[in-house]
């Protein structure tokens, strides 16, 4: 059955490691960390629990970094095609680090936390490179402070709002993509109303010393369960959210990854602060003249999952694309796919197929996301 057991020594653990082990989690190596992929509940039930109640995710492996100084906003704008200057106090925005070719080095969340400071959250697998990129590129314009002693929890699901409101009533005032410093059970936390599940929820940054105490407090609520990285991936896939290394990479511009919405007006060719970030000429050309490929959702026929890397062909067996993320959607009860295909085929008028084990499975182009996003916009 090929049940390969790979033994890897993982250098890093998060502040919650012992709690995961005690909860019976299956631990796997992930970006150098020993992380919980699932708990005894199992990926499918964890996924559904998050869609119906509230899931607690340890995402402390992600990189948290503060940029401090009068020039921090301007400096960060030199690295991202996103409006940071006009990001107002306690507002959060999605951004991308680009390279000279217009490719994507990483995607990140940026929050204006006041006192001339920005809080960035970057992907675990990219964080060392991101920290170096920030230090080398803008380290002389602002202080780049890696928040090594901070853990990050995500509380996601329709009951997340209620759970947090019971502990910190001011959290009710928060809407999607805003931030607040909250005292939760006596613990100071930087909280944003955001996440990666498609549900309403929060990401909570907390000092390592108080991290376990905070997690225990959240888990006291009957609606809250630990959720592993397995369900985190299926939740984001159903929600149509990009994953770095899958939909995003250094070889494709944000336009080729269907992230035009993330490119701020102010930074486009007719904007107030046009260009001025790596690869701006390529990206602006892609916006204006279009691109040959884009990211779309695909719905395969039948039950067989169509996984990452699978080729997409047309009726004449011409190779027209490739699956960037594929799996089974526990909420939809069907296989679901995100793929990069020829732009001209993205309207869904031509028949397309995925090649799985030498068989052609019909796939239909569908609008992302696969499940409705339930963000709290007030």
């Amino acid at each position: 059955m090929g049940l390969a057991m790979i033994e890897t020594i993982n250098e890093f653990t998060t502040a919650f490691h012992q709690m995961h082990v005690d909860a019976g989690a299956k631990m796997v190596p992930f970006a150098g960390y020993d992380m919980p992929v699932s708990y005894p509940l199992g990926v499918k039930k964890e996924h559904i629990h998050t869609r119906e109640k509230a899931g607690l995710f340890d995402v402390s492996h992600m990189g948290q970094v503060k940029l401090i100084g009068k020039n921090a906003k301007k400096a960060l704008e030199s690295l991202v095609p996103v409006d940071i200057i006009d990001l107002t106090l306690m507002k959060q925005r999605y951004a991308l680090f680009t390279n000279e070719n217009g490719g994507v080095l990483d995607d990140l969340m940026v929050t204006n936390i006041g006192n001339d400071s920005l809080m960035l959250v970057v992907n675990a697998g990219c964080k060392q490179a991101d920290f170096a990129h920030l230090q080398n590129s803008i380290g002389s314009d602002c202080v780049v402070k890696v928040m090594e002693d901070y853990a990050l929890l995500a509380l996601q699901g329709p009951q997340a709002g209620g759970v947090l409101a019971a502990l910190a009533p001011e959290s009710c005032e928060m809407t999607f993509m805003t931030a607040k410093v909250l005292i939760i059970n006596g613990i100071e936390c930087l909280v944003t109303r955001s996440g990666y599940s498609g549900e309403d929820g929060f990401e909570i940054s907390v000092h390592n010393n108080q991290a376990q105490q905070l997690a225990k407090c959240l888990l006291m609520h009957e609606a809250v369960e630990w959720i592993g990285l397995g369900a985190r991936d299926s939740l984001r896939l159903e929600a149509g959210l990009s994953l770095y290394g899958h939909e995003l990479d250094t070889e494709h511009s944000p336009v080729e990854s269907s992230l035009v919405w993330a490119l701020s007006k102010a930074r486009r060719s007719d904007g107030a602060r046009a260009g001025g970030y790596p690869g701006a000429d390529v990206i602006m050309d892609h916006i204006e003249n279009g691109v040959a490929q884009k990211i779309v959702g695909l719905q395969p026929e039948g039950r067989a999952p169509v996984r990452d890397g699978v080729m997409i062909v047309d009726e004449q067996d011409n190779n027209v694309g490739k699956v960037t993320s594929g799996g089974f959607g526990p909420t939809t009860g069907k296989p679901i796919v995100i793929a990069r295909i020829s732009t001209e085929l993205s309207d869904g008028t031509k028949k397309l197929f995925a090649i799985v084990r030498d068989k052609k499975i019909a796939v239909e182009v569908v609008k992302l996301p696969f499940v409705k996003q339930n963000y709290y916009r007030g």
């Binding site: 992929v37 699932s38 039950r303 999952p305 296989p335």
Partner: protein, 123 residues
């Protein structure tokens, strides 16, 4: 009734003379996680020991069911087409995969008995 086990975590139950039922063990289903799709062989397929005869897809990944013995597939568990979770919930009962008519009964001697399998899967 004799039940034997393979190193690929399959069970093989000998019903009569040369007819066996094959499925995955509880250990296997636990390792695989939630099953979402199972591709079964065709009735009448001739298979050899070591062939990949089924594809088992979990939420995480695809694995193969490797024929623990050689012979002809005489029945497949059609219920797994719509209810792959049966193989997780009741792997040694309603979640069986295929029935085969053995071409070489002596191949059963290559497999482990329960005590040997217990020891093997605890390693």
């Amino acid at each position: 009734m004799t039940i034997k086990y393979s190193e690929d975590h399959e069970w093989v139950e000998l019903a009569e003379d040369d007819l066996v039922t094959i499925g995955i063990t509880d250990f296997a289903q636990e390792q695989l996680g939630d099953l979402v799709f199972i591709e079964l062989p065709e009735v009448g397929d001739e298979v050899s020991q070591g062939d990949n005869i089924c594809v088992i897809e979990s939420v995480k990944a695809a694995s193969d069911l490797i024929a623990p013995v050689s012979g002809e597939v005489v029945a497949v568990n059609e219920r797994l087409n719509d209810e792959p979770e049966l193989a997780s919930e009741d792997p040694t009962g309603e979640g069986w995969f295929v029935k085969m008519k053995l071409s070489d009964v002596s191949e059963l001697d290559d497999l482990m008995d329960e005590a040997a399998y217990q020891e093997f899967s605890e390693e």
